[in-house]
């Protein structure tokens, strides 16, 4: 009397293993990619949030200045944690309307936050300033 089970177990083990590996690979690959994408998204989220906070901090710093003192600033290291060295911030001031006796000047201020050494900003704020504005 033969036992089909034993016969099948011997004959199918390798195939089953290969098939299982193939199936596992097909299943694990998207999962791994998903994990990687999640890690990237989480990292981007952190970077954007931190850069946005830095941009806002810089914009508020500009608001606290006198209108005449508003001037462009080159890229400089700026981080939420000063020891990180992860971000750089730059300010571009463009005079839209010169100040006059009626104090109606207008300057465009653009705050850009970059990753250290990066060429494209990751966060930024653009606004106008006027001597008697808000």
């Amino acid at each position: 009397m033969t036992y089909p089970t034993a016969t099948h177990a011997r004959g199918l083990t390798l195939v089953e293993v290969l098939a299982a590996l193939a199936i596992l690979a097909m299943v694990l690959l998207p999962i791994a990619l998903g994990f990687a994408q999640a890690l990237i998204a989480t990292s981007n989220s952190s970077i954007t949030a931190a850069a946005s906070s830095i941009a806002r901090e810089k914009a508020e710093e500009l608001k606290s200045k006198q209108f005449e003192e508003l001037d462009s600033q080159p890229r400089e290291a700026r981080d939420l944690n000063p020891e990180d060295g992860f971000f750089e911030v730059a300010v571009t001031i463009e005079t839209v309307r010169p100040d006059d006796a009626a104090h109606s000047g207008l300057k465009k201020a653009e705050v850009s936050v970059y990753r250290a050494g990066g060429s494209a900003p990751v966060a930024g704020i653009t606004t106008y300033f006027t001597p008697y504005g808000i």
Partner: protein, 475 residues
């Protein structure tokens, strides 16, 4: 048999279990991925939200700047909108405003900043609205200074604006279109920093502090209770003032104060205002030094619960007159100083009437032509019933100085050598005004550019220019 069955079931369960594990893992990964993507969306949204707020603020600032550049009387058209792109995203703002129904000098500004398209493609058309309230400091910070300008086509030098005879009236409100020779100068107290506010409160406060007013009597002037031949300067309500040459200068050249009340001696202590060699009640803190003793001040003081009506009849009046109430000027009254009324100043059918607050200043020849305030009215300045049809009628009233009217100015058949500062101006026929930019004997004048000394000297009441300030009411 049982073993067979068990083995078969074990193999099948393992496969199912493997599928279940993979399913669970897939669900977990999907959840983690979703959370991560949501976090990324959230951070991007926060970035867009921040930018939208600053776009809204940018709109308010751009609108304020444009408005100030135009002059306070000429706001930019609504809605005020524009684009403001950044390196990350395009943006725009849209600003509207309306008067605050609770306070006429407040403006509620609503600005909407829009980030569009979004940052990193995660959020679309995020908008943020900023509402602020603008107000102008000072109760007397008005919008308009009306004057004539030689730069206008066809204007002669010195510049003048002439409303020819006729019964028709010209309303000049926020838009200066007719008759065309008038300009609305941005240096008005509300819009600029050049022409100061008359600082009514300060004057009022000084008078209230410096003069002790007894209850009003209805005695007629001149009054001479001590029989020394010198009428006491007491003005009852509805009084018609005598010419000051017959009372103050001739009677007592050292007494430069009139006051209202029964006290025969001055209740004043002007030591606090003594300066430049003047002392006590001689101090003439409203007038520049060179007015000196020959131009005494004359005040009608106020009481807290009484309004007065003071009439200037024919005669000469030297000094400044402060009336808590109304002033009525009649024909052939010649006032060499400033008349100040908390209510109205009226001229009804007057002729040969002048108000001349200017006087030669030996220290600065250019100040000879400075137009000190001629009239300051808390409510209306009315010049009516002057007649129409004859250009000479404009000489019926000649005012050499700045006119402030807190509510409105109505001019007819008169000659204003100065400018009119008022929220509302209505001009009738035979109206002539000369002012603006001129160069006479090397002296260049702009409205209010050389304010009177009491606007400049701290000892005489520090008169600081009042820039329009904008107060953020809320975000």
């Amino acid at each position: 048999m049982i073993a067979k069955l068990t083995g078969y079931r074990q193999r099948g369960f393992a496969f199912v279990a493997a599928l279940m594990v993979m399913l669970v893992v897939a669900i977990l990964v999907t959840a983690v991925l979703t959370m991560a993507m949501n976090a990324q969306t959230l951070s991007a949204t926060r970035q867009d939200y921040t930018q939208a707020v600053y776009l809204a603020e940018a709109g308010v600032n751009a609108m304020i700047s444009q408005w100030r550049a135009n002059g306070v009387a000429s706001p930019p058209p609504q809605p005020y909108q524009g684009d403001l792109a950044s390196a990350l995203a395009a943006g725009s703002y849209r600003v509207t405003w309306a008067a605050d129904p609770a306070r006429s000098d407040w403006i509620i500004v609503t600005s909407q900043g829009t980030v569009n398209p979004d940052f990193q493609g995660t959020v679309y058309h995020l908008a943020r609205t900023v509402e602020v309230t603008l107000d102008s400091d000072g109760d007397w910070a008005w919008n308009h200074v009306y004057y004539s300008d030689s730069d206008m086509p066809g204007m002669e030098d010195p510049p003048y604006a002439d409303v020819k005879g006729g019964a028709g009236e010209v309303d000049i409100g926020g838009e200066i279109g007719e008759p065309g020779e008038f300009l609305d100068h941005p240096n008005g107290p509300a819009g600029g920093v050049t022409l100061p506010s008359p600082m009514w409160d300060l004057w009022h406060e000084w008078v209230r502090l410096d003069l002790t007013c007894d209850p009003v009597t209805n005695e007629q002037l001149p009054r001479d209770p001590d029989g020394d031949g010198i009428p006491d300067p007491r003005w009852p309500d509805q009084a018609t003032l005598p010419a000051s040459t017959s009372v103050a200068t001739d009677a007592d050249p050292t007494r430069h104060m009139y006051w209202y009340g029964d006290s025969a001696t001055t209740p004043l202590d002007h030591a606090a205002h003594a300066a430049d060699g003047h002392a006590g009640y001689d101090e003439n803190f409203f007038m520049p030094d060179w007015y000196g003793e020959d131009n005494p001040d004359a005040y009608v003081c106020n009481t807290s619960n009484k309004r007065f009506t003071v009439t200037f009849s024919n005669g000469d009046y030297f000094g400044n007159y402060y009336v808590h109430g109304d002033i009525h000027v009649k024909s052939r009254a010649h006032i060499y100083g400033t008349i100040i009324a908390t209510g109205d100043i009226t001229f009804y059918g007057v002729e040969d009437c002048t108000i001349t607050p200017e006087i030669a200043n030996p220290e600065d020849p250019c100040d000879e032509r400075v137009y000190y305030p001629a009239m300051i009215a808390g409510a209306d300045v009315l010049v009516r019933d002057q007649g129409v049809g004859d250009d000479d009628l404009r000489e019926r009233l000649r005012v050499s100085g700045i006119v402030w009217a807190g509510n409105s100015y109505t001019g007819q058949a008169s000659n204003i050598e100065g400018c009119v500062v008022s929220p509302s101006v209505r001009l009738g026929g035979n109206y002539l005004t000369r002012y603006g930019i001129m160069d006479v004997d090397g002296c260049t004048y702009l409205p209010g550019e050389t304010p009177p000394p009491w606007f400049r000297e701290p000892d005489r009441g520090e008169m600081q220019p009042i820039p329009r300030t904008w107060r953020e009411q809320g975000l």
